[in-house]
């Protein structure tokens, strides 16, 4: 079926930057970026909105830039949300077929799904995503829909992402006031995973870690299905803050030092001497011992990665076949791959760090925009299965497809 090219817009309100990406989905599934509008975020702390008017102003600014860059009038967006309150849990619902029925019918599956979705949410939490991971037919894993198969019990394994309802509502409210319509809300790492991981990688097992300015989001895919996801409220800002607290340097200098001179690998040859930061304005140079700088950065990032590792299900790390995929601004820290390798012991993939691009044409591969671009891909997938004629299959696919294969 021929699909007209549809334009999707992804909005990510991050701790360090707010970006809107306008993308065009081609009939063959390829995504073409029309334009990106980026602005520095103010009023967002650790991924969560702290100051509404300021954030609204940022979104409007990014909107204007994106519209300008892409020459498209933006009416609705896909919103990526993150925050430490968002948690991903796996839940399984078992349905025992009645004795007289041998085949799994749609209702049975529905029943199992309902049970699976019935997770005890903490107070104030609402489900954000309910994603099917796999089905089990008499204990045997099935990735495809088991309808029609002979079985006694059917189980549905779901991955449910839930978070504080009011905060999510507030984010939506903020975007609506821009004014922009919200097509859908997506948990950030899941959006990023759409773009960063391809099918084969997901099948083999992949862990995506997106370390942004205020949060570290992760999503683990095993056997093609999402196995874990979550958010740790530590990000690049914490690294800068650490440098600032330990060395006493002002924040801006600490930031520059982190970017230019910091190194997270524990390479002793790189920790010799003094890192100097010359100031064009003519103020005194800033000097810090490399050993301390690197140690501070490394300890913070190592702790963060260990926290991620601890959150993964048992045996999760070992099951990762293809590797760890790092994205996000902080992943550009020098030596980060070595550190990640030390923590996980798996192949590390990093997006290439791009040279400074002017804001009019930010590179599509820039890891800072991974999430926003991932939203477009998500939109496209959603679009694809929505456009299919609804039917038995279609309904099931809608549940299943965008998140699995």
């Amino acid at each position: 079926m021929a699909r007209r090219t549809k334009i999707h817009v992804g909005l990510e309100i991050g701790t360090s930057k707010t970006c809107i990406v306008v993308g065009e989905v081609k009939p063959d599934g390829a995504v073409k970026i029309l334009g990106i509008g980026v602005t520095k975020s103010v009023g967002v702390r650790k991924g969560e909105i702290a100051d509404f008017p300021q954030v609204r102003a940022c979104v409007k600014d990014a909107l204007a830039k994106a519209e300008d860059a892409s020459d498209v009038e933006i009416g609705s967006v896909f919103l990526a949300v993150t925050g430490s309150h968002l948690q991903g849990v796996n839940n399984r619902g078992t349905f025992r077929l009645p004795d007289n029925q041998k085949n799994i019918l749609a209702e049975h599956l529905e029943e199992a799904c309902d049970m699976a979705r019935d997770v005890h949410y903490p107070q104030d939490h609402v489900p954000l995503h309910t994603i099917i991971r796999k089905y089990l037919v008499d204990g045997l894993e099935q990735t495809a829909s088991p309808i029609g198969l002979f079985a006694k019990t059917v189980e549905a394994d779901f991955h449910i992402v839930h978070g504080i309802g009011n905060r999510i509502q507030n984010s939506i409210k903020l975007v609506r006031e821009c004014p922009l319509e919200v097509d859908d809300i997506v948990f950030a790492p899941i959006a990023t995973a759409q773009m960063a991981l391809d099918r084969e990688q997901r099948l083999r097992g992949a862990l995506l870690i997106d370390i942004g300015g205020g949060t570290t989001d992760y999503a683990l895919y095993l056997d093609g299905a999402i196995a874990a996801s979550g958010c740790i409220p530590v990000g690049g800002d914490h690294v800068t803050n650490d440098i600032h607290l330990v060395t006493g340097l002002p924040f801006s200098k600490a930031e520059k030092l982190k970017i230019l001179e910091g190194n997270a690998s524990a390479d002793p040859s790189l920790s010799v001497g003094i890192a100097k930061l010359t100031d064009e304005n003519g103020f005194a140079d800033v000097e810090v011992k490399r050993a301390i700088l690197n140690e501070v950065i490394r300890q913070r990032l190592e702790e963060t990665l260990r926290l991620v590792r601890d959150r993964l299900p048992k045996g999760g790390v070992e099951a990762i076949g293809s590797g760890i995929f790092l994205t996000g601004g902080t992943s550009l820290t020098n030596g980060f791959s070595e550190l990640a390798f030390d923590v996980f012991g798996r192949d590390i993939y990093r997006p290439e760090s791009t040279e400074s691009t002017d804001s009019a044409h930010p590179s599509f591969k820039d890891p800072q925009f991974a999430t926003a671009i991932g939203l477009i891909r998500y939109a496209q997938i959603l679009e694809t299965e929505n456009s299919r004629p609804p039917g038995c299959f279609g309904r099931l696919l809608r549940l299943f497809w965008p998140f699995g294969a």
């Binding site: 650790k46 430490s84 740790i232 409220p233 530590v234 914490h238 800068t240 600032h244 913070r300």
Partner: protein, 581 residues
């Protein structure tokens, strides 16, 4: 280059330096000095206890109180010690005759040390010597009585000596590791004192490339009733300049270098072998500059001593006014009141002040005295009466320049403090104006509020039509706002200005006469101490508006709730968290 060797011509012959050890502790210190084989000084031991005297290594020994204590000690009674000393006074005077520098080492708190030390100091001063006292204060566990005895004696010594270095026994713990024996602790303390003595002797006895002499030493220790700060460090090898400075600054007598921050004058003496380089001196002085205030007067001396070889030694001597160490404001208030009491008796003396405006000034001194009384004790009901008297007095005496005396008198109210303290020195009738500057120093702070009074008064002065008084007024306008010395400059009594200098000079030579001076001078450094304390105090309540889990600084995340994750606050750097654990 023509090289010529300097003759080590000694400025002060060794026979003119004497180190006196008084009492048991003094004898120990003396032994330490003797063991370190000091050159350029003679040793003299004084004691009531004949046993310790006998075992002492000093060349000269004098037994105190031969008849009084009969070879036994004083039993911890300073009275006995004093009398014993007086008994042997002539012998001690004989021994100290002709000495230029006398180092008196004693341990205060007991009988001989506390009782005899002030007298010896007096004798030495009378013989014209420069007296440096090294005194140790008793341990806390020795009890309050000994402590009080020690402090009484210390106060007397502070007045009588040119320089006073105290070492508190309680700080002995800083000198040695906790597990070392007490014998080592005591010997470390003795060693430190002997180092100090040696350093001072080296400083004044041997000339150097850049000379510091007794005059510089006196200038460094100028304030009477001051405590001496002393630090000495020796180092050798690579980086010896920094090491030596660090050792010097870490001396307990310097309180780890923090006390230097308030010093006004610092005497630095460097001594090294032939290999001493200019670079090292520069480096050392630069590092030192960080520890002393910018406006401090640094007296620098350097000497080359071939015998030192590769070692470099630095000696830091400075003095802090007593109250900067102890912060005792209470004493000064009691002394002010004492001065007020004496005011009335001194009215006759004041008219001796010369000034061109004698007609006008005559009534002022009494008015000033009253005014001082008013300023210092605002609560007292007397001042009210006195001002009335003042008004009455001034009226009949000045028919011509009426506006003038009143404003001037009121002005003088603030300056009057200077004159009013004159009463203290009734022994020096002709020298009233001289002590004037000091009390005003002390009055300055207490009169900050009263300055508001002179200000409206000032406006009236400006309107005054008289040319002469105007000239005076103009001079005096800046007086109110400026600090004390200019106040005196403005005063028509030129003598006071000259005498201001004399006072400083005088204080060097006859501290005994200015016993009352000291407390006033001490007031000057006081206010800074309370204000800094105030500042600290003011800070604390403001920032503690809510209970914080952790007082660690959180930089960017200051004021946010702790980001607790699995029991740890993620906002704190792991670098610091791990350091704690």
């Amino acid at each position: 280059m023509i090289s010529y060797s300097r003759d080590p011509h000694e400025t002060i012959p060794s026979s003119a330096v004497k180190i006196v050890g008084l009492g048991g502790a003094g004898a120990n210190m003396l032994e330490r000095v003797a063991l370190d084989s000091i050159e350029g000084a003679e040793l003299l031991a004084l004691n009531t206890d004949i046993r310790t005297l006998g075992s002492c290594l000093a060349k000269e020994k004098i037994q105190l109180g031969v008849n009084l204590t009969k070879g036994l000690g004083t039993g911890g009674d300073p009275e006995l010690g004093q009398q014993a000393m007086l008994e042997a006074e002539s012998k001690v005077r004989e021994a100290l005759k002709g000495q230029q520098i006398v180092f008196l080492c004693t341990g205060l708190g007991g009988g001989t040390g506390s009782g005899a030390a002030p007298i010896i100091a007096r004798i030495a001063r009378e013989e014209g010597a420069f007296v440096v006292v090294f005194a140790t204060m008793p341990f806390f566990f020795e009890g309050r009585r000994r402590r009080e005895q020690a402090e009484t004696s210390l106060n007397q010594l502070a007045v009588l000596s040119n320089a006073l270095v105290t070492f508190d026994n309680n700080r002995m713990g800083e000198l040695v590791l906790a597990k070392q024996g007490i014998h080592e602790a005591f010997s470390a303390a003795d060693k430190m004192i002997s180092e100090s003595i040696k350093a001072v002797i080296r400083l004044v006895v041997r000339p150097g490339l850049i000379n510091v002499g007794l005059d510089d030493l006196m200038s460094a220790l100028r304030t009477t009733r001051s405590r001496c700060l002393f630090g000495s460090g020796i180092a050798e090898g690579k980086d010896r300049a920094s090491k030596a400075l660090r050792n010097a600054l870490s001396s307990p007598l310097l309180d780890q270098g923090s006390l230097l921050k308030d010093a006004q004058t610092v005497l630095v003496h460097l001594s090294g072998g032939e290999s001493l380089t200019l670079f090292e001196i520069e480096l050392l002085m630069q590092n030192l500059q960080k520890h002393v205030p910018e406006h401090a007067h640094v007296l620098f001396g350097a000497a080359i001593d071939p015998g030192m070889g590769d070692t470099l030694s630095i000696t830091l001597i400075s003095a802090l006014p007593e109250d900067a160490l102890t912060g005792g404001t209470r004493d000064s208030i009691s002394q002010i009141s004492k001065s007020i009491a004496d005011l009335d008796s001194e009215k006759e003396d004041v008219p001796e002040i010369e000034n061109p405006f004698s007609k006008i000034d005559k009534p002022q001194p009494p008015a000033d005295e009253e005014a001082v009384a008013e300023e210092s004790i605002p609560e007292a009901p007397e001042p009210i009466e006195e001002t009335d008297i003042f008004a009455e007095e001034s009226e009949p005496k000045h028919s011509s320049s009426r506006n003038l005396p009143e404003p001037r008198a009121k002005l003088n109210r603030s300056i009057g403090g200077g004159i009013s303290s004159a009463p203290l020195f009734d022994t020096e009738a002709g020298e009233e104006p001289q002590p004037a500057p000091e009390p005003v120093l002390e009055q300055e702070e207490s009169e900050e509020r009263p300055f508001a009074e002179p200000e409206p008064v000032r406006k009236r002065e400006e309107a005054s039509p008289e040319p002469e008084p105007e000239a005076m007024i103009e001079e005096e306008e800046p007086v109110i706002t400026d600090d004390v010395p200019s106040r005196f400059a403005a005063r028509p009594e030129l003598k006071t200005r000259r005498s201001g200098k004399n006072i400083w000079g005088k204080s060097e030579v006859k501290p005994a006469d200015e016993a009352g001076d000291g407390p006033f001078k001490e007031d000057l450094p006081d206010p800074p101490a309370p204000t800094t304390q105030l500042k600290l105090g003011a800070k604390a309540p403001g920032s503690q508006s809510e209970l914080a889990f952790d007082s660690a600084p959180r930089g960017r995340f200051e004021g946010e709730n702790p980001n607790v994750f699995d029991g740890e606050d993620l906002d704190l750097p792991p670098f610091l968290r791990k350091k704690k654990s």
